[in-house]
């Protein structure tokens, strides 16, 4: 979408250029991206506020039909809400496709519509399509397979939760999950915890990724407090907090630490909610903690029983737990007593049910139809509910910035209470881009889920694949060949540069500098050409596979890569000459949006935003993965934690990424690009033609998909915005039991009120630009 305005595509040639900030001046509405039930009322309002004549282009498969997101939160087609003139296919559509759509629309208006006739009070002529909106379930088939298939269950339902009655994965054998040897420090901490908390805590004897403890509910808060403030090493950061609905587990053998002594001890204290001995929890809360020195992670699991269980909040320990607990509450229905503001965060405020419960339908087509009337009825919550009014004194001006706003970089809603131009209070409303990807992860096979990861951080491309695959590979103990690792690193760094180039243009644009966008998108197109040469795709190549890559590098990749490195290295100098010492840019960014290092560490801020506070912390160095330890590069940092520092860090990161790409290209090892352990990988096609075993694995792994051994793993990678972690839980099936994404944007954005409060409204734009978030990564 953005690319069509930039030099290579130059939409202005087709007579459409100027983007309007409000629907009042626009005659064309391009809806690009997925239409969510939360944002649908907003789209409808924008359309109705447009003056006649007006036309609509629906852009992308998701917008046309819901696309690959047949999930509870997505409207299955824009034409259920507003009439659509032209549909653009593709996911994502290429820039040329949008230009084509525009010319189609122009031809349609010229040849069919005669829109001026009604203006001149003549008969005939139309303005925009006259087709009525479709009604999901009535005038359009709700079946993703087309009409006439109603009697036949959707393929795969017999093997997806909560039934699994026909899963053939049980017939497949796998080795046990990968096991690690704990470090000395972790062992001594386990000893300390054992002495201090006795039977209330029990270490899981075998783990695939990090020390894991089961803690009884009545003491988990003490344990967390101890780990945060007293333990050695301290765990100051709450990396992630989520839950698992255990009700669909196929093997519900009681977990030892929930019976016997622990249960007795709870009842002696008179606090037990669990009279049973030897039970299996209905829900498990999972806390991932992180220590900075030495770098390490730790997992706490707390079992909860009951239909609508309750536990205690930890927002008094970590203020950053606020959003995580709200998300867990709305997705699982687990109440956190003592939480200051426990209400829905991502889903609409009037949503019913808890989507990540196993009993909740995953598909939109299994739910009641979403119609135009639904879009009128389910209005976003009034802004007054988000911000505090000043007591006594004058009223503050309550203003919605977003979801439809050019400055918010996506459909996000900032609610500000303004005293003059000063932000007296600010709150965020997210979830306008919630695609239920975690729920989808529970029904797609391990391979099928890869394309969904591309779309989580849609500027990150294959770097997302890597985050996901790394967790799966850690769990199953899959060795990735060296050549595949190098290619993975190289492409991930390409996408980091891709992201930073787009960021550079938009961030500068946010504070008034328009030119850089045109320069950075020029280089980005060159980068996209390389990505296309290698993977065949632009934004969402989905090119990594379990155990390696989809295919080897093509002919001529090296020359293209070398040329790009050379060109961009010079061009960065141009960019910097424009911006880095620009007095206006400095005045708008220095001292603005300051975040202290302590806050950044405690709130889980990661990536360039954390490094701009002065901490040298990068997962690529601290928990090296995919062979990053073989590369020479530095971690850029800056001090001050303001918008300018974040700018400096990102610019330097482009240079460091170029260094990594250069090394990867020059030292590219030979050999295989996918593991030869074909139990989990899709085998090389050549091998399937030679031996029957590869052929069988090929058949199994592309149809029902491989089975991943029962277990869990959390790993994180450093994508362009920070630490993106995947927590995959397998129940020994061909799909995940729980797919949790720890998104960097979620934590980075939660901290924004700290930066923006008491500043000016204009500073908020600079802060938004410098934080560099992306909506599907926040809302998932």
């Amino acid at each position: 979408m953005a690319a069509v305005f930039t030099p290579r595509f130059d939409l202005a040639r087709f007579g459409a250029e100027v983007l309007r900030g409000s629907p009042r001046q626009a005659d064309l509405l391009i809806v690009a991206g997925t239409v969510f039930k939360k944002v649908a009322p907003v789209i409808l309002r924008l359309y109705e506020q447009m003056a006649e004549p007006k036309w609509v282009i629906s852009m992308g498969s998701c917008c046309n039909s819901g696309g690959m997101y047949d999930v509870y939160s997505v409207v299955q087609g824009l034409n259920q809400i507003i009439p659509v003139d032209v549909h653009v296919t593709g996911c994502p559509p290429r820039p040329e496709a949008l230009e084509h759509a525009l010319t189609i629309l122009q031809k349609k208006i010229l040849s069919e519509e005669k829109p001026a006739r009604s203006i001149l009070h003549l008969q005939g002529g139309t303005q925009g399509t006259t087709k009525p909106v479709l009604v999901d379930g009535e005038s359009k088939s709700r079946d993703t397979r087309g009409p006439g298939m109603e009697g036949i269950p959707i393929r795969g339902t017999s093997v997806t939760p909560p039934l699994f009655w026909d899963s053939r994965s049980d017939l497949m054998w796998t080795p046990p999950p990968h096991r690690i040897e704990l470090r000395e420090g972790d062992k001594s901490l386990a000893q300390v915890l054992k002495e201090k908390f006795g039977d209330a805590i029990r270490q899981t004897p075998e783990t695939s990724d990090m020390p894991t403890y089961h803690v009884a509910e009545f003491r988990f808060k003490e344990v967390l407090k101890f780990l945060k403030t007293e333990a050695s090493p301290k765990y100051p950061r709450l990396d992630d907090l989520t839950a698992i609905d255990e009700s669909a587990r196929r093997d519900r053998k009681p977990i030892p630490n929930y019976d016997g002594t622990v249960a007795n001890e709870i009842s002696q204290n008179g606090e037990s909610h669990r009279p049973d001995k030897g039970i299996y929890p209905d829900y498990t809360l999972v806390y991932h903690l992180l220590s900075f020195d030495p770098p390490g992670r730790l997992r706490l699991k707390v079992g909860l029983t009951g239909k609508d269980p309750a536990t205690r909040t930890i927002t008094d320990l970590w203020p950053s737990a606020s959003w995580y607990e709200r998300e867990t509450y709305e997705m699982f229905g687990i109440r956190f007593e003592g939480h200051p503001d426990l209400r829905r965060l991502i889903l609409p405020h009037d949503w019913e049910g808890y989507p990540l419960r196993k009993s909740y339908p995953g598909r939109a087509t299994e739910m009641a139809p979403y119609t135009r009337a639904s879009a009128v009825e389910h209005q976003p919550l009034d802004a007054g509910a988000f911000v505090k009014q000043r007591e006594g004194g004058q009223d503050l001006l309550v203003l919605n910035m977003g979801p439809q706003h050019v400055g918010t970089h996506g459909v996000m809603r900032f609610i500000v209470a303004l005293d003059g131009e000063k932000i007296a209070d600010i709150n965020l409303d997210i979830g306008y881009h919630h695609r239920g990807v975690e729920k989808i992860g529970e029904r797609q096979s391990w391979h099928q889920f890869i394309p969904y990861t591309d779309r989580v951080d849609y500027m990150g491309g294959v770097a997302n694949n890597l985050s996901y695959l790394q967790s799966v590979e850690t769990l199953a103990g899959i060795e990735v060949p060296m050549r595949a690792q190098f290619v993975r690193v190289m492409l991930s760094e390409f996408f980091r540069i891709n992201n930073h180039l787009v960021w550079f243009g938009t961030c500068c644009h946010d504070v008034g500098a328009m030119t850089p966008t045109f320069y950075t998108f020029r280089e980005r197109e060159q980068l996209m050409d390389i990505v296309e040469l290698i993977t065949g795709g632009r934004l969402h190549p989905s090119w990594f596979r379990i155990g390696g890559l989809a295919m080897d590098l093509p002919e001529g990749w090296k020359e293209a890569v070398d040329a790009f490195v050379k060109v961009l290295r010079e061009r960065i100098r141009d960019y910097e000459a424009l911006i880095t010492k620009n007095p206006i840019f400095k005045a708008r960014t220095r001292g603005v949006g300051v975040l202290s290092l302590k806050d950044a560490m405690e709130w889980g801020v990661t990536g360039p935003n954390l490094r701009a506070c002065g901490l040298e912390w990068d997962v690529r160095k601290k928990f090296p993965y995919s062979g990053y330890e073989n590369f020479n590069f530095e971690i850029p940092t800056a001090t001050g934690g303001d918008c300018y520092a974040r700018y400096l860090v990102r610019v330097e990161e482009i240079r460091q990424s170029l260094r990594i790409i250069e090394q990867a290209a020059s030292q590219m090892p030979g050999g295989r690009v996918i593991t030869d352990d074909y139990r989990y990988a899709v085998p090389d096609k050549k091998d399937t033609l030679k031996d029957i075993e590869s052929l069988i694995h090929h058949f199994i792994n592309v149809t029902r998909g491989p089975k991943i051994p029962r277990g869990e793993a959390y790993t994180a990678t450093e994508i362009s915005r920070g630490e993106q972690g995947y927590y995959v839980v397998s129940d020994g099936l061909n799909m995940a039991y729980r797919m949790r994404i720890r998104a960097p944007g979620f934590a980075n954005v939660q901290v924004m009120p700290l930066m923006a409060k008491d500043g000016l409204l204009s500073d908020l734009l600079a802060i938004i630009g410098s934080i560099d978030y992306i909506l599907p990564d926040i809302d998932r």
Binding site: S22, P23, R24, P41, V42, I43, R45, L46, E48, Q49, A51, E52, P53, I119, L120, H121, Q379, P380, D382, A383, G384, Q394, D395, L397, V398, L399, N400, M401, P403, Q404, H405, R413, D419, G420, E421, K422, R569, R590, G591, V592, V594, G614, E634, P636, T637, A638, T639, G640, G641, D642, Y644, L648, V649, E652, L658, R659, D758, G759, L760, D763
Partner: protein, 150 residues
Amino acid sequence: MEPMPNINVLSPWQPGVLALGIFAVMSLVLIVAFLFLASWLGEKKPNLEKLRPYECGIIPTGTARFPYPVAFYLTAAFFLIFDVEAAFIFSWAIAFDRLGWPGWLQISFFIAILMISLFYLWKKGGLEWDPTARRSPVSPETSSLPSSTG
């Protein structure tokens, strides 16, 4: 200041009733034509949403009609004062050659007073847009980047 010596600076008064009449009629005809065309050509498809203020697609909260903070008025008042005073300087500039040195001295005195009041305002913080909520102190020079070896 002295009275203006030359009346012929402005064009002389020549009453022409006919021309005025034609002008008035043409104006009226044009106004009526524009109003008619606008109302005849303009499409009217009113709905409730079009009457609502646009606020990023959300129904607005509360009213925007309440007392504005003092800072807006201060800025407006300062602008007005200096604007009016600039008008005096323009009138001097038109006739500076005829006013001679006495005029120059007088206007210099006037400008000096303006400058003093401007600096006074500046010092008092009257030009600070939002003196109460100044940004946090400017961060130290953020230059601890590793030298770009790449």
